[in-house]
């Protein structure tokens, strides 16, 4: 479904991504592990069209994404829920969610149905619908961010560190919801530092270090890998 071939991204003379090749197949939940600054967000932004790769190809369903504008990529079904949520803080939760449906704005009936599905996933947002998104707790804001991304009707949903800064109990709930989104039919690419929790719901995983992919494997191999355990799980 998603295929990266030898992708490089540079910020000035600094090479943030170096020769990245990876694939995500339809229906999978793939985890991208890596420490702060490993290049996870750079990789997501390269796929979303927010960074321009200096070399290599990004293909989604056999269509070349690099060179397309961010809005064309969202319309094409690749949606990112970025680190730090990037909500519209003074707009209501409902307005935030409906802006997620911006690229489908002409299909009102479809959006309404989608909104119901999203509220089913995050029932608490229904009570908070009229409150400014910025007034919600961290966990609820993360739900709005994921809900907003789901309103764009992604076929590939990219989640960048959704557990960042959340209480352990909320993190657990967040991973359950991500698993649920995936089992309902959305392909998920999840960037995480919280390796153990992420691997538990993953089909496959990549490990990223200093802008390069250094390891790849399915859930079992990764959980059993000594190097992964030492570096990311701490056990």
């Amino acid at each position: 479904m998603l295929q990266l071939k030898n992708v490089d991204v540079c910020y000035g003379s600094f090479k943030a991504l170096n020769n990245i090749s990876m694939t995500v197949d339809t229906g999978e939940l793939v985890v991208l592990l890596g420490a702060n600054g490993a290049g996870k967000s750079s990789l997501f932004n390269a796929i979303s069209g927010l960074n321009k790769p200096s070399a290599g190809d990004v293909e989604f369903e056999d269509r070349r994404l690099n060179g397309l504008k961010p809005n064309a990529i969202v319309s094409g079904g690749v949606v990112q829920c970025a680190e730090g949520r990037k909500l519209f803080p003074h707009m209501s939760v409902l307005q935030n969610l409906m802006l997620g449906a911006y690229v489908h704005r002409r299909d009102r009936a479809g959006n309404k149905q989608r909104l119901n599905e999203v509220l089913e996933l995050f029932p608490i947002l229904e009570d908070k619908a009229q409150q400014p998104a910025g007034s919600l707790s961290g966990g609820q804001q993360q739900m709005v961010a994921i809900g907003r991304a789901m309103m764009s009707r992604p076929r590939l949903l990219m989640l960048d560190e959704p557990s960042l800064g959340l209480a352990p109990l909320v993190v657990k709930q967040m991973f359950e919801i991500i698993k649920q989104i995936n089992s309902l039919g959305t392909t998920v690419l999840l960037a995480e530092q919280n390796a153990f929790a992420a691997l538990k719901i993953a089909d496959r995983a990549y490990v990223m270090e200093n802008g390069q992919l250094v390891m790849e494997g399915d859930q079992e191999t990764m959980l059993g890998n000594e190097q992964v355990r030492r570096a990311y799980i701490g056990a």
């Binding site: 504008k69 809005n71 319309s75 990037k86 909500l87 003074h90 907003r148 764009s152």
Partner: protein, 287 residues
């Protein structure tokens, strides 16, 4: 007592015009982070376009206003496309220099066609309404009502339409706007067009009780900057409230202190308010 109410009318008139000009300026600043010094030139071109349409083509005042609004909207979009868009990744100082360049260019262009003379724009609303001794010239009433209607329409547009929502979204989180697939170019062009329409209408409303000349935008844009700094850069309610504060201060200061000092009052108020509330009256992003 009547003189006091007279000053309230004057304050509302001035405040309405300043508010309209400042609104366009604050929208462009809040969404695109461009301090558009050329906004005063757009205001000036708006007055000249109405003058040209009325005097040379003989159209009605309303038609001239609509025509001028359309022309200045296109001019503002051209400024965005040809000047500010190519500079979007440059250091912020480049925007400022370019804006001053547009200002000088437009002034010189207008002067080339019409000269530097002072002109008078006539309006069909020359009557004077007398409410039991309280005298309101029709044009001033039109300015106050017109500004109120425009602000209400702008609020409706921003709050109730999808295009309006994309503009507010862009102001609150640029990255968030990109993530949901909002096209930055469309929002930028729309914002400039709105600022142009507001400037042209403000100029056409105010020109009949003032004069039309190439340098007419200077003091207005200086005050509009004072207003948006007072109100909080990028804040819509701040621009309206700030416009009224400056308008009233000038009307009352001019009457009770001295007309000679009325322009100083705006800048004096800026110093006073900023020393008490350095972030402006309304915090940034308070849409």
């Amino acid at each position: 007592m009547n003189l006091f109410f007279q000053q309230i009318i004057n304050g509302l008139t001035l405040g309405s015009i300043y508010g309209l000009v400042a609104l366009g300026l604050t929208l462009v600043y809040g969404i695109l982070h461009i301090p558009n010094f050329a906004h005063g030139a757009l205001y000036m071109v708006g007055a000249f376009m109405s003058y040209f349409l009325m005097m040379d083509l003989g159209v009605h005042y309303w038609v001239a206003m609509a025509g001028s609004a359309a022309i200045v909207a296109i001019l503002a979009v051209l400024c965005e496309r040809l000047v500010f868009h190519p500079l979007r990744n440059s250091p912020p100082i480049h925007d400022k220099i370019a804006a001053i360049g547009i200002l000088l260019f437009l002034e010189a262009l207008v002067q080339m066609f019409w000269g530097a003379d002072f002109r008078r724009l006539s309006s069909p609303f020359t009557g004077i309404l007398n409410f039991d001794g309280l005298i309101i010239p029709e044009q001033r009433l039109l300015i106050i009502v017109g500004a109120f209607v425009l602000v209400a329409a702008l609020q409706l547009f921003l709050r109730k339409t999808m295009i309006g929502a994309t503009i507010i979204a862009m102001a609150q989180s640029r990255d968030g706007a990109f993530l949901v697939g909002i096209d930055a170019n469309r929002v930028a062009m729309m914002t400039f067009a709105i600022s142009g329409v507001l400037a042209a209408i403000a100029a056409t409303l105010y020109a009949p009780i003032n004069l039309v000349y190439p340098a007419m935008g200077h003091l207005v844009i200086m005050k509009a900057f004072v207003i948006i700094i007072l109100g909080g850069m990028g804040s819509i309610p701040g621009a309206i409230a700030g416009g009224m504060i400056i308008g009233f201060a000038e009307a009352f200061g001019g009457f009770y202190i001295s007309t000679a000092y009325k322009d100083i009052i705006a800048f004096g108020l800026l110093v006073v308010i900023l020393s008490v509330r350095p972030q402006g009256l309304f915090a940034k992003g308070a849409h």
